[in-house]
C-alpha cells in the first residue's frame, strides 16, 4: 500500500507513539514502582509520581532477596527451561527429520499419531499426568517439570514441515558421497535448520519460563518451585508490600526481556513463521 506525503507519515508516527505509550504504561509503572518505597507505590500509582518518583532506591530488591529465596526460584526456572529446550531439540528435530525425509514402514502411522496428538492441549492431560507422576514418585522434582515436556507434537510438526520444504539437493550430495542417513541429518540438514531450531527453542523456553498450572500442581515446597508459582505465592505473602512484589516481577522478567531484545528476530519471525504454516 502506498502512503503518500510527509503529513500522513507524521500522523502515523503520532498515532503509533501514543498507542505504544498507553500500551507500555503498565510496564513503566511496574519498573518505577519497584524502585519506590513500599508505602508510596499504591497511593501515588495513578499520579505523575507513579512515573516520576521523588526518590529511587534498590531497597525493594534487597527486601525480596531477604524475604524469600529468590535466587533458588530463579535457578529452578532457568534449569527447567534450559533442560527442556536442550532435550526438546535433541528428540524433536531428529523425529521431524525421520518423518519428513526417510523411508520406513511405520512412517505414515507415526505421522498420523503426531498429528492426532497435536489437538490435545496440556490441560486435558494434567490430572491423569499428576496421578502418573505421583505413582512414579516424581512429585516435587525437576524431572516431573522437564521430562513430560521434552517431546512435543507441535515441535515435531514444526521440524517436519521445515525439513519438507528444505531442498533435498544438499543431502543427496552427501548421500552420494557415502554418508548414511544419520550423518546426512547431523552434518547437512541440521546446520541448515537454524530457523526451525531457533523457533522451537524460543517457543519452548517461553512456555516453560511462564508455566504455572503444572508446577502449581506438582510442587508443594520451595525446593523445585519455579518463578511464576513463587510470584503468585509472594503476591499473597503478608505483609502486602507492592514495591517488593514489583521488584520480584522485574527480576523475574528481566532475563526474558534481555533474551527478547538480543534475539528479537527469532522471537518475532518464529511466531510469524508458525502462523504462516498453520
Amino acid at each position: 500500500m502506498r502512503r503518500g506525503g510527509r503529513a500522513a507519515g507524521l500522523v502515523r508516527h503520532a498515532a503509533l507513539a501514543a498507542l505504544a505509550a498507553v500500551y507500555l504504561y503498565p510496564v513503566a509503572l511496574m519498573v518505577v514502582g519497584s524502585l519506590k518505597p513500599d508505602a508510596s507505590v499504591l497511593p501515588e500509582l495513578a499520579t505523575w509520581r507513579g512515573l516520576f518518583p521523588e526518590r529511587v532506591s534498590l531497597q525493594n530488591y534487597r527486601d525480596v532477596l531477604a524475604r524469600v529465596d529468590f535466587l533458588r526460584y530463579l535457578a529452578s526456572s532457568a534449569w527447567i527451561a534450559a533442560a527442556t529446550v536442550a532435550l526438546g531439540l535433541a528428540v524433536n528435530a531428529p523425529a521431524g527429520y525421520a518423518l519428513a525425509r526417510l523411508r520406513w514402514r511405520a512412517r505414515r502411522r507415526a505421522l498420523a499419531f503426531v498429528l492426532a496428538l497435536l489437538v490435545i492441549p496440556f490441560e486435558a492431560v494434567a490430572v491423569p499426568l499428576l496421578y502418573q507422576v505421583s505413582w512414579l514418585g516424581w512429585r516435587d522434582t525437576y524431572t516431573a517439570q522437564i521430562l513430560p515436556f521434552a517431546a512435543s507434537a507441535f515441535s515435531i510438526y514444526l521440524f517436519y514441515s521445515f525439513f519438507l520444504d528444505l531442498p533435498r539437493s544438499l543431502e543427496e550430495a552427501a548421500r552420494v558421497d557415502g554418508a548414511g542417513p544419520l550423518r546426512a541429518f547431523l552434518l547437512v540438514a541440521l546446520p541448515n535448520a537454524r530457523p526451525a531450531l531457533a523457533t522451537c527453542a524460543v517457543l519452548t523456553f517461553l512456555a516453560q519460563w511462564g508455566s504455572f498450572l503444572w508446577p502449581l500442581m506438582v510442587t508443594s515446597g520451595e525446593r523445585v518451585r519455579p518463578l511464576p508459582v513463587a510470584l503468585a505465592a509472594f503476591h499473597t505473602l503478608p505483609p502486602l508490600a507492592w514495591g517488593d512484589i514489583l521488584a520480584f516481577a522485574v527480576m523475574m522478567v528481566a532475563p526474558v526481556v534481555v533474551l527478547f531484545l538480543l534475539f528479537q528476530r527469532w522471537f518475532v519471525e518464529g511466531m510469524a513463521w508458525t502462523g504462516a504454516r498453520g
Binding site: 500500500m1 502506498r2 502515523r12 503509533l16 498507542l19 505504544a20 500500551y23 507500555l24 504504561y25 509503572l29 511496574m30 500509582l45 495513578a46 507513579g50 535433541a90 528428540v91 523425529a95 527429520y97 525421520a98 523411508r103 520406513w104 499419531f113 503426531v114 496428538l117 492441549p121 490441560e123 486435558a124 494434567a126 490430572v127 491423569p128 499426568l129 499428576l130 496421578y131 521430562l147 517431546a151 515435531i156 548414511g180 542417513p181 544419520l182 519460563w209 504455572f212 498450572l213 500442581m217 518463578l227 511464576p228 508459582v229 510470584l231 503476591h235 512484589i245 514489583l246 516481577a249 523475574m252 522478567v253 526474558v256 526481556v257 527478547f260 518475532v268 510469524a272 502462523g275 504462516a276
Partner: protein, 299 residues
C-alpha cells in the same frame, strides 16, 4: 546392496523418531487414555477401596454441576468477546505498522513485549492496576475518560466486572502475537494486487475489503483458532486474580478441573470434566478448520 541401504535407512529413521514418539506416548497419549478410563470410575484421591465402574455417572454429575456449567459459559463468553476484539486490535496495529515506516522495529517490539511476559506476572501486575478506589490507575483512567462521571469500583470483586477485567488483561498480553502474524500476512500480499485495484478506481476502503482482507484469510483463520483455544485453556489469570470468584463469575473449565482434582481430590469427576473440555476444544478446532477449508474452496 540397495536392500542394505534401505534397511539402514529404516533403522536410522526408527532410531531418530523413537525417543520423541516414546515421550509422546508416555506423557500425552497414555495420560489422555487414562483420563478417559478414569472418567468411568469413582476414583478419589486417598480413597481406601479400589475404584469401581460407574458408567456415565461422572459425566452426568459434571454436566449437572452449576459451577462447571458456569465455567463452560464463561469460556464461551470469554472467547466470543476476546477473539473478535483482539483480532480487530491486532489488525489495526498491523495496518498501522505495515509499509515503509522509520522505527518500525521499535514499535513492533513495544507491542510484542507483553507476549514474552509470563502470564502469572501479567496477572499480578494488573491486580495492582485494578486497585479499587480512586488511586487505582484503571479507575483513574476511566474517570478521566468520562469527565469524572465514573465512580471507582473494585473490578475483581464485582460480579459484573471481574470477567471483563480478565478479558482486558488477556487482550493486552496477547494482541502482539496476533499482530506479528497478521503483519507477516500483509507483507505476503503482492503489491501489484493493490496497484491493480487502485487503477480500477477502488478507494482505500474497497481495497481493504477486497484485497487486504481476502489476502489475510489464512493468518486470520489461524490466529482466530489459536486465540479461541487459548480462551478455553484460560487458567493462570483467573487463579491469581480472582480464584474463579466472585461467586463463580470468572471460573473456567480448567479452573474447575483444577479445583475438583487438586483441591477436592475427586480424580474421576475431574477426568470427566477433562474429557468434556477436550471435546469442546476438538469441536472448535474441527469447526474452524472446516470453515477455513470451505472458504479456501470457494476462492
Amino acid at each position: 546392496m540397495r536392500a542394505t541401504a534401505e534397511r539402514e535407512e529404516a533403522r536410522a529413521a526408527r532410531l531418530m523418531a523413537a525417543p520423541a514418539l516414546a515421550g509422546l506416548a508416555l506423557f500425552l497419549a497414555l495420560p489422555f487414555a487414562l483420563a478417559v478410563g478414569l472418567s468411568f470410575t469413582d476414583l478419589r484421591l486417598g480413597a481406601p477401596r479400589p475404584p469401581t465402574f460407574v458408567g456415565l455417572a461422572q459425566y452426568a454429575g459434571a454436566l449437572a454441576d452449576p459451577r462447571f456449567q458456569r465455567a463452560l459459559v464463561n469460556n464461551l463468553v470469554f472467547a466470543a468477546v476476546v477473539v473478535p476484539v483482539q483480532t480487530a486490535c491486532a489488525l489495526g496495529l498491523a495496518l498501522l505498522l505495515h509499509g515503509r515506516l522509520r522505527g518500525r522495529a521499535l514499535y513492533r517490539a513495544a507491542f510484542f513485549l507483553p507476549v514474552v511476559f509470563p502470564m502469572a506476572l501479567v496477572a499480578v501486575l494488573w491486580t495492582l492496576l485494578y486497585a479499587p478506589g480512586p488511586e487505582g490507575p484503571v479507575n483513574r483512567a476511566l474517570s478521566l475518560l468520562t469527565l469524572g462521571r465514573w465512580s471507582p469500583r473494585d473490578f475483581l470483586h464485582d460480579p459484573a466486572w471481574a470477567l471483563p477485567a480478565i478479558m482486558a488483561v488477556s487482550v493486552w498480553q496477547g494482541v502482539g502475537f496476533q499482530m506479528v502474524i497478521l503483519l507477516a500476512g500483509l507483507q505476503g500480499i503482492p503489491r501489484r494486487l493493490h496497484e491493480a485495484a487502485a487503477l480500477d478506481g477502488a478507494g482505500p476502503l474497497r481495497r481493504f475489503l477486497h484485497v487486504t482482507l481476502p489476502g489475510l484469510r489464512n493468518p486470520l483463520a489461524f490466529t482466530a483458532l489459536v486465540t479461541t483455544v487459548l480462551a478455553f485453556r484460560l487458567f493462570d489469570q483467573v487463579r491469581i486474580m480472582t480464584r474463579g470468584g466472585p461467586a463463580g463469575a470468572t471460573t473456567t473449565a480448567v479452573h474447575e478441573i483444577f479445583e475438583t482434582a487438586y483441591v477436592r481430590g475427586q480424580l474421576a469427576r475431574a477426568s470427566a470434566m477433562t474429557v468434556i473440555f477436550f471435546l469442546a476444544v476438538l469441536g472448535i478446532t474441527l469447526a474452524q478448520r472446516r470453515l477455513a477449508a470451505h472458504r479456501r474452496w470457494e476462492a
